[in-house]
């Protein structure tokens, strides 16, 4: 019979110490990593609030940019312009995105085609926004020979579609099949089931997805550079260049004047608050809309 293993040799003790200290070291490193990640976020947010709040005033929301060299002025036209472009994008992007999601969840379950669509949507999600910008430039702006709010809206709409499609599909997948079957069993047509039963049940989650997509494109600058282009004056015409908040921030941040930098900080704060509000709303919706049961 072999003698029992002696766990109390020097080697064993050393080994155990090594393992324990590695464990502690890794734990410390991962905590350090988390702090290192959180730190820039807090730095960005803190600096933004500090700089932005001190530059915000009433004129920021009511006036349009002053000519170079003059102090004051605001970004009223950019805020409204962003609203116009985003509304346009939502109008085009949301219905298409939701419809594609409905197809994937209600009609395409298990089909190869649906898998391909799903995969393409995921890949499209990762295409750089500037590529969307030059594609829309090549398609619309080159044809029309001028920049336009419409082109900007199309560029953002294209970016919204894949995100909305995927979240819609995921949310519809959580709707229990029994509910659909109940509706179909009553003789409700399939299209009506999809709209009034499946979509209705999943609507909190789908709204979440739409708002996430909205928040994502709200801060996009690159696709607007060559489509909406920006505008120093009031313009609400869809056929003309229009101002947008991210574009104006970019112009002001890269400009040489202190007054411009001040406005850039204020604009960033407004943009972030807009996005933060929608993300928070998303959280509320998502928590309230958590489906019980599942499929």
């Amino acid at each position: 019979m072999r003698p029992p293993i002696n766990f109390n040799t020097r080697r064993m003790r050393f080994d155990q110490m090594r393992r324990r200290s590695t464990n502690t070291l890794i734990a410390a490193l991962s905590i350090l990593a988390t702090i290192l990640v959180i730190a820039p976020l807090l730095a960005i947010l803190g600096y933004l609030i500090y700089k932005g709040a001190s530059s915000l005033n009433f004129a920021f929301f009511t006036q349009i940019p002053k000519p170079v060299g003059e102090d004051g002025g605001g970004m009223a036209n950019s805020i409204v312009g962003s609203g116009v472009v985003l509304a346009l994008a939502s109008l085009m992007g949301i219905p298409v995105g939701i419809a594609a999601g409905v197809y994937l969840a209600e009609f395409g379950r298990g089909k190869f085609f649906a898998t391909a669509v799903r995969f393409t949507a995921d890949v499209l999600n990762g295409v750089p926004s500037i590529v969307m910008g030059i594609a829309i430039y090549s398609l619309i702006v080159m044809q029309q020979k001028h920049f336009s709010a419409f082109a900007g809206g199309v560029a953002l709409a294209i970016m919204m579609v894949p995100t909305i499609t995927r979240t819609t599909e995921e949310m519809l997948a959580t709707v229990p099949h029994a509910i659909r079957e109940a509706a179909l069993g009553l003789g409700v047509p399939k299209w009506r089931t999809a709209i009034s039963v499946s979509l209705r049940t999943a609507s909190p989650g789908i709204i979440t997805g739409c708002m996430l997509a909205f928040a994502r494109v709200a801060g996009e600058t690159a696709p607007l550079l060559f489509t909406a282009f920006g505008n120093q004056f009031w313009s609400l015409k869809l056929n003309e260049p229009i101002a947008a908040l991210p574009l104006q921030i970019y112009v002001y941040a890269t400009g040489p004047y202190d007054e411009w930098h001040r406005l850039a900080w204020a604009g960033s704060l407004v943009l972030i608050v807009m996005i933060m509000v929608s993300v928070t709303l998303v959280r509320i919706f998502a928590n309230r809309g958590a489906l019980k049961g599942g499929s």
Partner: protein, 359 residues
């Protein structure tokens, strides 16, 4: 689970049960349309539904509309590829594939090559990954394995909030905080400590490849860490328990039980981060210095594929110039498609069988 709902139509037994249909009518079990024509007192809802017709046309047109919208996703990808190829024909014909191997960029004489932009893009992206991946892994390990439950939600909310900050705001912060920091503190320090490697040489203006990489790292961190976290959560708890039961310390459990099982997915997450880094435009354009150079020093200004488009597209004069820029866009599109495809396949391979997470 994936039963076609259509097949349920003729057998609505569970539904008909509670309805006030006379028990003597066996026809109640047949499809609704038939019942209405046969029985004397049809319920109100059946009359209503019967009056709506069979709805076959509506059903089919609805399905077709949904299908068309799904196809639009393919259409978008094909359209982008087609229009970019079409508009860059001039430069494709003039330079061919050599375009990507030449570093000349001379708009005045119409001489274009993308090598210096490719170098800038690769250098900043890989440097950003070098910084971001260990940190993201640390955060993911902390959040899934070590973090007290009460801290988990706020920290993951914060890291995800990083992803919601627009690129231009990162750029603004980088211009006014990171660039001075790099110029006055971090840069001289790096030069003193690592100057002998040759990576930190030459004049340091604060803008350059390194600054761009740092801001890129901050931007891709949340993507990598939240995906890695999802992948690590998908590892079954039995794995962890098994390794712990063998007497492993917590780190050994994480290494053997968690990280080894999720390595493919982590590679996928890193590649998704890479895809984002390759195409990131605004923040990089604002701090990279925008100068087409291939320099070993990370303090030197550079240029990336995306930032040259952002910077020069609207002032491009001449068809060849414009088409060269569009060709750069096409290259960027194709590269990110390839990187993202590989990444998605890897992530899918791992999380496919995991329980779906409600966002």
């Amino acid at each position: 689970m994936t039963t076609d709902p259509d097949s349920k139509r003729p057998t609505p037994d569970p539904v008909t049960g509670p309805r006030p249909v006379p028990p003597a009518t066996p026809g109640a079990l047949a499809p609704a349309e038939v019942v209405v024509s046969e029985n004397a007192p049809p319920s109100a809802i059946r009359v209503f539904l019967a009056s709506r017709g069979s709805g076959k046309l509506a059903d089919q047109s609805f399905a077709v509309i949904m299908l068309l919208c799904a196809c639009s996703i393919f259409a978008i990808v094909i359209f982008i590829a087609a229009i970019l190829t079409m508009r860059s024909k001039l430069s494709l014909a003039q330079f061919g594939l050599k375009f990507f191997m030449r570093s000349a960029w001379d708009p005045v004489n119409g001489d274009f090559g993308a090598l210096s932009f490719i170098y800038g893009t690769l250098a900043t992206s890989f440097l950003a990954l070098l910084i971001a991946v260990p940190l993201a892994l640390g955060v993911a390990v902390f959040l899934t394995e070590l973090c007290p439950r009460a801290l988990r939600a706020p920290i993951s909310f914060l890291t995800e909030f990083l992803a919601a900050i627009p690129s231009v705001v990162y750029g603004l912060w980088a211009v006014f905080v990171l660039v001075p920091l790099m110029r006055d503190t971090l840069g001289p320090f790096l030069y003193k400590v690592l100057g002998w490697t040759g990576f930190f040489e030459g004049p340091n203006f604060g803008v350059g490849l390194l600054t761009a990489s740092i801001i890129l790292a901050i931007m891709i961190l949340p993507i990598i860490s939240s995906l890695t976290r999802d992948i690590m959560t998908a590892v079954p708890n039995a794995q962890r328990e098994a390794v712990l039961a063998l007497g492993a310390t917590r780190w050994e459990m994480i290494r053997v039980g968690v990280l080894r099982n999720s390595r493919i997915g982590i590679v996928g997450a890193v590649m998704l981060g890479l895809g984002r880094a390759l195409g990131e435009t605004m923040a990089v354009t604002m701090v990279i210095g925008n100068h087409p150079d291939i320099s070993k020093s990370l303090f030197a200004p550079g240029y990336t594929l995306a930032s040259v488009i952002a910077n020069e597209f609207s002032e491009a004069t001449g068809d060849l110039y414009l088409s060269a820029l569009i060709e750069i866009g096409l290259a960027l599109f194709l590269v990110t498609i390839v990187v993202n495809t590989i990444a998605r396949l890897l992530v899918w391979a791992v999380t496919r069988n995991a329980p779906a997470r409600v966002a």
